[in-house]
Symmetry: C2
């Protein structure tokens, strides 16, 4: 039960000053080889580990990065964390993770995180971007990178998914099958991803000279259940759509269940496509045609950029936006015979 040993203890035992010890431990400044060896030996013997709190205070740098996500559920958010973690490990940074605990004032969480000096920078994914958040970021002296900011502002630093083109691509793919009556199950009204996906859908239709019809446009909230009901509603009308684009996979999966209940065959009676490429969409039969989001890659880049801001390799005040493009994953739910994904 050795007491916690400090740099002082090492200095005492090696008959040198703490400055010398610090120099050795940080490989900074000249030290006689002999002294160096001895200090290292003693430090190792005592199993010395520098106190990182003291280190942080002195260096004014914590080597940790805050990650604030709207919630901590799903493979999706896990993938974000995974990507960030991998990259953080590369840069020797630690990760402080927190959900914004939507029930509470998430802004406060953010502020707390950023202002207390607990982290050197923050990766923030807010449920929705608003002026208050913008203000906080501007005011704080803490570098912030936004994940999927969902705003048209240009004076921020953000990494986004190309929802618009993803949606356009997949709807175009459905059109390529010759379907003309293509319905949509929307996401939450105020969700920017959902809005962009809708726009992609809309523009794909009109670009292909199909007409948008309100009868084929039903709302959902990204949940499985909402997909179930939305599908039921869409297919209960006399003039049914021939294909449906669900704005995310969970809703598409809900649609599968509704289809089974209604004895509707996918893709024979109605084709189906989703968005996100969640694990389950590769499990269901027929495999769901969907859009893959390179979310791990996106997170990695975001972290990498943040670290460079922190290290001063990149100007933190300069706005920067990056958008990663999505990939079409072809299953047979759209009517294709051959799937691009294999197991």
């Amino acid at each position: 039960m050795t007491n916690k040993i400090s740099i002082h203890e090492i200095a005492r035992r090696s008959n040198v000053s703490i400055a010398t010890v610090s120099r050795v431990l940080n490989n900074k400044g000249p030290v006689k080889q002999e002294t160096r060896d001895q200090i290292i030996r003693i430090a190792r013997e005592l199993n010395y580990k520098p106190n990182s709190t003291a280190r942080s205070l002195s260096r004014r740098k914590t080597d940790s990065i805050g990650v604030i996500l709207p919630e901590l559920v799903d493979e999706f958010f896990m993938n974000i964390i995974q990507g960030i973690d991998e990259e953080a490990h590369r840069y020797n940074r630690y990760l402080m993770i927190s959900s914004s605990h939507s029930q509470r004032n998430d802004i406060e969480t953010i502020l707390e995180f950023m202002s207390s000096g607990r982290v050197d920078g923050v990766i923030l994914m807010a449920p929705s971007f608003n002026d208050e958040i913008y203000e906080i970021i501007q005011k704080s002296h803490c570098p912030v990178v936004l994940l999927n900011p969902g705003t048209t502002r240009k004076d921020i630093i953000g990494f986004s998914i190309d929802n618009y083109n993803g949606a356009k691509t997949i709807v175009s793919h459905l059109m390529g099958h010759g379907y003309e009556k293509i319905g949509i199950i929307r996401g939450p009204v105020h969700n920017i991803d959902a809005q962009q996906r809708f726009k992609g859908y809309y523009d794909a239709l009109t670009a292909g000279s199909l007409k948008y019809s309100e009868a084929y446009d039903v709302s959902g909230d990204f949940s499985l259940k909402s997909g179930y009901y939305a599908f039921t509603r869409l297919m209960s009308q006399s003039d049914r759509p021939r294909a449906i684009f669900a704005c995310n996979d969970y809703m598409a999966l809900g649609a599968y269940q509704a289809a089974r209940n209604m004895n509707i065959r996918i893709p024979d009676d109605v084709a189906l496509a989703g968005f996100d490429d969640v694990f389950s969409s590769g499990i269901v039969n027929p495999r769901l045609t969907t859009i893959h989001i390179p979310i791990i890659e996106l997170s990695r880049r975001a972290l990498s950029y943040l670290v460079k801001m922190i290290d001063g390799d990149i100007d933190s005040t300069a706005p920067y936006q990056e958008t990663v493009s999505t990939g079409l994953v072809i299953g047979s739910s759209c009517g294709c015979k051959q799937s691009t994904a294999q197991y």
Copy 2:
């Protein structure tokens, strides 16, 4: 662009000493109401946030907790984080999360985390428990709680899943359907969960006076793919099993795909059961009969216990084990008509 303000600045502006300011900010020690009000006012005006690094150094307490998981993938690990996060929020603790980056020396990761004073305690889920890890925990002065330690040692603090009884329950359920030839798709050989689940399977069989047969025992590694091949192997023999217990859901899902390829109907030709109750198992058709693990609850309890150790409310040196019991989730993959889960 106000410079970062410290307690000194507040003291200066309020014409008091920093001690008084500190007292006000921490609600500690007597301060005249008038002085107090003024200090609070000024602190608020300047939007003062105490530097948590300095605070940690002085108090010898970081208010953060380390979480080390073998990997950061899956809903499963996300659920762990979710449970921990919820509870951490209740106790006002921050979470430092890291995967043990299995490619590297995970032990070193752990040591680093625990010895550097970056966290007040650690929740550790190791890929496999071994003596080295045990040594580290004993030596370190940092409270450690193990998640699913998978050891029979009694001198540790750990929170576990009752794999054994879970497996026994579900295999018994299969037997209740009258199936006599019950196969198993095992998990990784060195994985303790997998071993315990196998034992549950074995004991359930023999308790019901069925005989264990090597022909029905094939190995897997918890991956979907391994489930696919294991199923194929099991069902390629002339004397096929009538039911199969896959040691986790992903392997069971792989079995679904193999079954589809081989034109084998579930549950008509072969009944199937899994373990874990992952999201996808509720999606597939027929719904997978499986075992639910209250992992969020388990994580919550682990964190709560750890915090109490840190706060000195619980003796950190006393061993403690807790096991949470699992729940049977009935789908129709086992042959049941009525499912307990609904969507």
